[in-house]
Symmetry: C2
Subunit: 658 residues, 2 copies
């Protein structure tokens, strides 16, 4: 039997289907400061009474809830918004109740219109208003109680009727609700990251290839020398592959050769040697002091370092001796190396996250992250997070953010959709995506819709990469310059977070390992020497696009996209709007042919009528065109530039000669 005492029998309002809410509140949603959080819910009660609802929210540092009245959209769906100003956790929830005063107002108005005598109703109203007055500030309280008096005074009936249907009474009802038998939803959480989580521009490189001298092992000091160049191109995150000592046993040679020649540098992901593990620095790159100097130099150039966290070991890693319990042990007592049967990777020992000693393992990994944080690192790119336990990430990210709330984590998971989603739910600030393999208009539109218009928008922040040091996609294996331009432009304008694998991309390196999506002579296995002074069309475009991203807030968001119809399957167009800043990107996905067609602008989105003119101003070429209404013509020659990066501007004069 259900005990009546355990039931809130007088609470008549139901609150359901709240969005955003992840898995019943199990996970928090994410934003950056100043982002508007729209909260919707089904809210209704039995019968015909009016309902009132408030969205409640507060920052973790606050005791008092802030409130926003919710408004009915339609079909019992309500909405309100709040803007999270501060970084850190916010709590939010909804309260709703039967609004007896509003119901009373509705009914007495109908009766007065019907010329009914409403003495009795006025007395009911007087009692309700008296309750409402209790919540009103002094001045309004006085005014309300004056009305109460009139309602109760039979001799002032006409006056009472006028007051009963007055504007100010409606306003009071709204301002000073009688909150009795309030239904309250469970509390939900929002994590507000620092702005970089929402807008970042990544340049990735192997620091050992930074030397200006051919054949020299690059150092942190060499990287410092490159910073002005990378800054000039507009990047603000410099992501370095692992900087730890590299193992010797089973070290891999050029092109992943299992036989390593003497003097070959090895793979930075074969972490750990007698010189140390994840808490040590590869001596050929420099000292810890050098690394800290690099971190400082980055700051001076408006950039940050992103460290690479690859939780795996070479056979020479100190953990292999000190903590064999963190690995799988083979029947012969040796540690189990990595396998993807029938392939063997004897240079890598994977960690066994199912170990009985998981607690000491987790603590050690946390120690590493905290150590890096002490060095000054505030961004961590995690290598293959999807091969480590979800529970570990959720814990270690939460622990880290409690001490270092400004720490950001990028998940390098290229795996099944639900696994990638789960990592993001578990706390990752940003995630690599399938963008690298989405080439056609249909693919890109569908994928962007999933990322930005559905539930993922609340927890999964995409970071788009046209290539990485591991991935040389077929579209770029062509080496065709327009293809590089197209893929670059899409990454940098579709997503507010994007990155490139440094010189390899800029200089359009494209030779693939036969039959694979990897680079031939991959930098993973050897030291490269680059002509760091070289510029080309790509570096020019990168510089211009990154400047436009800095100057146009619409490009600093990802979820603000609207696709436009273009009647050519290779021409793609999308609007990005943030406040007054309206950006229109048009891309010719065909890198080999000039394409021209009509494009249909959703003009209500840019606040234009069908007859109105406006200017589309190409921020890359500085050309301006006068457009009018919905349908306008675009033509793009990939051998010139396969895209327009338009800002939509007002026609202020006849400056363009129409």
């Amino acid at each position: 039997m259900m005990k009546l005492a355990a039931i809130k029998g007088r609470n008549r309002v139901i609150i359901e289907r709240v969005t955003p809410e992840l898995d019943g509140g199990r996970f928090f949603i994410k934003s950056v400061p100043q982002e508007t959080i729209p909260v919707k819910a089904d809210i209704f009660c039995d019968g015909h009474d009016k309902t009132a609802a408030r969205l409640l929210y507060k920052h973790q540092s606050e005791n008092k809830w802030s409130e926003v009245p919710m408004r009915l959209i339609n079909n019992d769906r309500w909405q309100a918004e709040f803007i999270a100003q501060k970084e850190g956790f916010y709590h939010y929830t909804i309260e709703a109740w039967v609004d007896h005063l509003a119901s009373w107002e509705h009914e007495i108005t109908l009766k007065i219109r019907d010329a009914q005598h409403v003495s009795s109703e006025l007395l009911v109203g007087a009692n309700l208003l008296e309750k409402a007055a209790a919540h009103a500030p002094q001045e309004d309280k006085k005014a309300i109680l004056e009305v109460v008096k009139i309602f109760r005074d039979e001799s002032r009936y006409d006056d009472a009727v006028v007051n009963a249907i007055s504007e100010r009474l409606v306003k009071w009802i709204d301002l000073y609700p009688i909150r009795e038998n309030v239904s309250r939803y469970h509390e939900l959480k929002l994590w507000v990251d620092r702005p970089k989580a929402g807008f970042s521009t990544w340049y990735s490189m192997f620091p050992r290839s930074a030397s200006k001298e051919p054949g020299q092992h690059g150092t942190f000091r060499d990287v410092i020398d490159l910073l002005p160049r990378i800054q000039r191109m507009g990047f603000d995150v410099l992501y370095l592959t692992p900087i730890h000592p590299i193992g010797n046993q089973f070290r891999k040679g050029k092109n992943n050769n299992v036989l390593c020649q003497p003097g070959e540098p090895g793979v930075p992901y074969g972490i750990g040697s007698e010189l140390g593990g994840h808490d040590a620095i590869h001596p050929e790159l420099g000292t810890l002091e050098d690394f800290k100097a690099l971190i400082e130099a980055c700051k001076a150039h408006g950039m940050e370092i992103a460290m690479d966290l690859a939780i795996q070991c070479s056979p020479d890693h100190p953990w292999a001796k000190e903590h064999p319990e963190w690995f799988k042990i083979r029947p012969d007592g040796t540690i189990q190396y990595a396998e993807n049967p029938p392939k063997k990777y004897q240079d890598i020992y994977p960690i066994n996250f199912e170990t009985e000693a998981w607690q000491s393992l987790w603590e050690e990994l946390k120690r590493i992250i905290f150590l890096w944080a002490e060095w000054g690192v505030r961004i961590i790119r995690v290598d293959n997070p999807h091969t480590k336990a979800f529970a570990f990430w959720e814990w270690v990210i939460a622990e880290t953010k409690q001490t270092y709330p400004d720490m950001l984590f990028l998940a390098e998971a290229f795996t099944r959709p639900k696994v990638m989603q789960q990592l993001a739910k578990g706390g990752y600030s940003q995630s690599y995506t399938y963008f690298t393999w989405r080439n056609t208009k249909a693919e890109l539109t569908e994928y962007m819709t999933e990322l930005t218009q559905e539930e993922m928008r609340y927890y999964f922040r995409p970071n788009f990469w046209p290539n990485t040091h591991d991935i040389n996609p077929p579209f770029l294996q062509t080496g065709h310059e327009p293809n590089f331009l197209i893929r670059y432009f899409l990454a940098a304008t579709l997503s507010s977070n994007y990155g490139i694998f440094g010189p390899t991309f800029e200089y359009m390196v494209h030779e693939a390992f036969p039959g694979k999506e990897e680079y031939w002579n991959s930098e993973k296995y050897e030291i490269k020497h680059w002509d760091w002074e070289q510029t080309n069309k790509l570096t020019y475009v990168i510089t211009q696009v990154n400047r436009a991203r800095k100057e146009n807030v619409a490009l600093q968001h990802t979820n603000n996209i609207t696709f436009c119809e273009v009647y050519d399957e290779q021409l793609m167009a999308y609007l990005k709007i943030q406040g007054d800043n309206q950006i229109l990107c048009v891309v010719n996905l065909d890198g080999y042919n000039r394409r021209g067609h009509m494009i249909k602008i959703p003009i209500q989105k840019i606040d234009k009528a069908g007859w109105e003119e406006y200017i589309v101003h190409d921020l890359l070429t500085d050309s301006k065109y006068v457009w009018k209404g919905e349908l306008n013509y675009v033509e793009l020659d990939p051998y010139f530039l396969p895209f327009h990066l338009f800002r939509i501007e007002e026609v202020v004069s006849k400056e363009v000669g129409v």
Copy 2:
């Protein structure tokens, strides 16, 4: 800080997005015995290990869980089914874990195919198999341990390899999983109603109109005399409007006249007089003994009585004197009558569910229901449940079903969608629907899809009514016989639960109160006299359709519907399939014109190939047609019959002369 001790750090498998699950498990789903419950979930773990999952379920009377292995559908979505055999509550949930033995089997197979030496792997496998053997029954245990011995015996290497990739090993892995670090979803609930909840055929009437003598007040004994006729037509639920004493104060006259003439019988919904309230019986209908006799007579005719629960009072109801605290009190101390401003209903006192005395109110209402149950009533049709608190219904239905698990509740709520859904979630066995106003093919298809293909299918059992004593829909106000036939056929074949408002429907009464969807000279306000012997086309069709419903299990379900394309917007066709029973309904929604067109049968659903012939056998006319493949021609003349009720049958001989 998150305490590690509070975390299940070794549980690597995630279970998410389980269906069916209502509001995070807040509400139970529903079925009838023998119904298959498909349970789906996203199940995945980090890395590349294999996962195993079991659906667990048990009846409330059982201690032990039954288990069904779940299978991967695609994209980390898994599924299994269970069949709830018994009535009452079932619990169900999911367990999942990393299947190390399956991972091992997968990997060793690849290595053996690659001709690698696998001694070490065999030893690993031996340890795993030993664990698995612990769960195996004696015979298999012996066999498994024999294999373990072979795996550990270097001298029997070839034998071991053969065993490692043997069929029986794969079977053992499936049968005797090693369940360690098991992730378990929270428990969900299913309520299994008795079969009548899923398949019922309602006949509604005012018992006071049951007399054979004009001008006589009908009695329960008169109703008993009508039972053979109602049974013959195929109905199994006889729903009676309220049978309690009717109030005198403000009693309504013919056609809702506020001035009642002496001798007018009043509205049965104005419940209560000095003779009693909801626990008393209107003396003109007979005694409690007569009513119990009716209940027994119904049983003898394969029928059941449905009582009408209208929680409201006439001013003469005993509660008005004894429990004024259950009503709203006006400033002058009188009880607030019902209003829909500017309209007043002074003959009705609504109950105030926000009363501080809600606990005694709830207990009294429960007492009424339990009293009726003691009289033998097992079906209650609730009048306007949406004007009473949701929490009350959830409580009182749960309380009732604990003592009377066979009690069924039908919600007569015609209101906003979410309110109707909430009542169903709260425990109602069946619900009235918008069917009454869904006339076009598009409307019907969309509504049926919402009811049967989406979440509602798990908790909202529709009951379709072409008319009710309150609703005379415009489509029937025409009085056009084919229209009555069409609406009847749709109700009886789209939904396994349907009802009609008795003689008014049969005899095509259609005159409306001017400008309203109500009957002129409505039976609510007066006693009618019917010629109970009269039959017509409608009564013939009702009898035939109800017979077909009894003989064809496909018509005893609602969610088993598939719409067929027909290239005419007034022709509608749908398949209903249950096991081997395949029913095809074709309806001409145009009651005035003969319509003919091609209909496209989704032949994979009826297990036919494009070249195969099959028979469509009209169960109403006994005509048979030989059809072939997808596209076939149908023509329907509304003046003959505006529908086919086909059973799809095999061609067994050349009986139809092709």
